[in-house]
Amino acid sequence: MKTRTKERKGNAELSKHKEAVTLGNVIANQEIHIELNGNREALVDGCKGIVEYNDSTVRLNTAAGQIRFSGRSLQIACMTEDSMILRGYILGLEYCS
């Protein structure tokens, strides 16, 4: 019984460390961080630039490759060096290459 509890605690700590490392990577700009608000807004943190942009597709360059947002009436609401807010009807998110 005690052994199982210890195992559970160990797993929880491991996942915490993993999470911390993941966020650390995001902070260090090594990984992309995407937040989706329904299908109307996406906040992309850690992107390296726009590769393709039109009404139905936005392809972004990231450290780990490219990601593509597909949808309708896509609009870049705000953009800085490494982040952007994408608005519109997002129908798909695809990791390319």
């Binding site: 630039g49 942009y53 896509l74 870049i76 953009m79 800085t80």
Partner: protein, 391 residues
């Protein structure tokens, strides 16, 4: 919301980008700290917004990416200011409006009285005015503690008061003590006659009666004595009280001239308005004034805007011009006038009742002379303190 306000204040430029490397141009802007927002795709390019200052920084990146940039729209305060810079009146008007709005918050616009039942509103407002609180007072000049203290000092019925300045409203909170009947005085006293006459009825509640029913009495004469001798021969001082009804006669003569000069209203009523700003009274008419002979009614009206009482009010003098006309009255009409005058004379003193009235009237020298012989009845009991040891 806040972001939109800031963007409006700083001014924004909407521009259209066309070219094969539009995406690269966007990337360059982002990397070089030029904010780009509301980017929308359009055929062969896109439309985006940036701030006015940043727009002047995009030229090198335009050259580098060989795109064509065209300004679509200019929005925001800098452009509005530029557009209206030659219209000084408009700018001054807006500045004055903002100044007025800011200044108006510093005045008392309304005075609300809460909780007073015994002390009338007018009396309280009068006391507050003496303390400097009127509609239109400058809030910073008021000492609310002093005003509250003044109210408590002026009216013993007020046991607690406070003046709260809530926005532009002065809320005067008043707490009054419950009406307490003062216990009747038990100091030794006599009952004397307050006027001369014949006693027709006498009820003695306390004390020793000196006069009786049917006696004639003079003003100030002792009627009931407070000095009473007991059966053991001891002198006791009492608080004498009694009801002493006396009858007395009085004559009243009314003279009405049969030829009278009357003030008759004429046509052409005029309202003369004055604006009261604190103690300042500004006439709101250019010329003219009230004629020498006129009827005049004065009333004050608070000025309201969208249901809010403003800190100034309007005094309206309603002036009706009048003319003097000589009228000859008939004897009946003159008698009516004389009788109404007699009636008003009777009502002057409500404490007395008319027992009888004999009226004689005659016309002499173009005048109606009406003489009324009255018999009145009145309670003439008046308590007079017995002074002990000359005190």
């Amino acid at each position: 919301m806040l972001v939109n306000i800031l963007r409006f204040v700083r001014g924004t430029v909407t521009f259209e980008v066309r070219g094969d490397f539009a995406e690269r141009f966007l990337n360059l802007l982002g990397r070089n700290g030029i904010p780009v927002f509301y980017t929308q795709w359009s055929d062969g390019g896109f439309v985006a917004q940036t701030t006015v200052k940043s727009y002047f920084r995009i030229r090198p990146y335009v050259r580098r990416t060989h795109v064509r940039v065209r300004v679509v729209k200019r929005q925001g305060l800098p452009f509005l200011m530029r557009r209206y810079s030659k219209r000084m009146g408009l700018i001054v008007g807006i500045a004055l409006f903002i100044l007025c709005i800011n200044l108006s918050g510093g005045f008392v616009w309304e005075i609300q009285l809460n909780g007073n039942h015994l002390v009338p509103d007018d009396d309280i407002l009068q006391t507050l005015e003496e303390g400097g609180l009127v509609r239109g007072s400058w809030k910073k000049s008021l000492d609310v503690n002093d005003l509250a203290m003044r109210l408590r000092e002026a009216y013993p019925q007020i046991i607690w008061s406070a003046v709260n300045l809530v926005g532009s409203v002065a809320e005067v909170e008043i707490s009054e003590q419950a009406e307490v009947e003062q216990p009747e005085s038990t100091d030794p006293c006599n009952v004397v006659a307050s006027r001369a006459g014949q006693i027709v009825r006498m009820e003695v509640y306390d004390g020793q009666a000196v006069l009786q029913k049917g006696d004639a009495v003079q003003k100030g004469q002792l009627v009931v004595s407070g000095v009473v001798k007991s059966t053991k021969g001891i002198t006791i001082l009492r608080h004498a009280s009694a009801q002493v009804l006396v009858e007395y006669s009085e004559q009243k003569t009314v003279t009405v001239s049969l030829t009278q000069t009357l003030k008759v209203p004429d046509s052409g009523m005029v309202n003369l308005r004055y604006l009261n700003l604190g103690k300042l009274r500004i006439p709101l008419f250019l010329a003219g004034g009230k004629p020498q002979l006129c009827f005049e009614r004065v009333f004050e009206r608070p000025v309201r805007l969208f249901g809010i009482t403003l800190p100034f009010d309007l005094t309206i003098h309603q002036v009706i011009p009048a003319t003097q006309q000589t009228v000859t009255l008939t004897a009946e009409k003159a008698a009516q006038l004389a009788e109404s005058e007699l009636l008003s004379f009777e009502r002057q003193t409500p404490e007395r009742t008319v027992v009888s009235r004999k009226i004689k009237s005659s016309v002499r020298d173009n005048q109606l002379v009406m003489t009324a012989e009255y018999v009145f009845q009145e309670d003439a009991a008046q308590q007079e303190e017995i002074l002990l040891n000359g005190q």
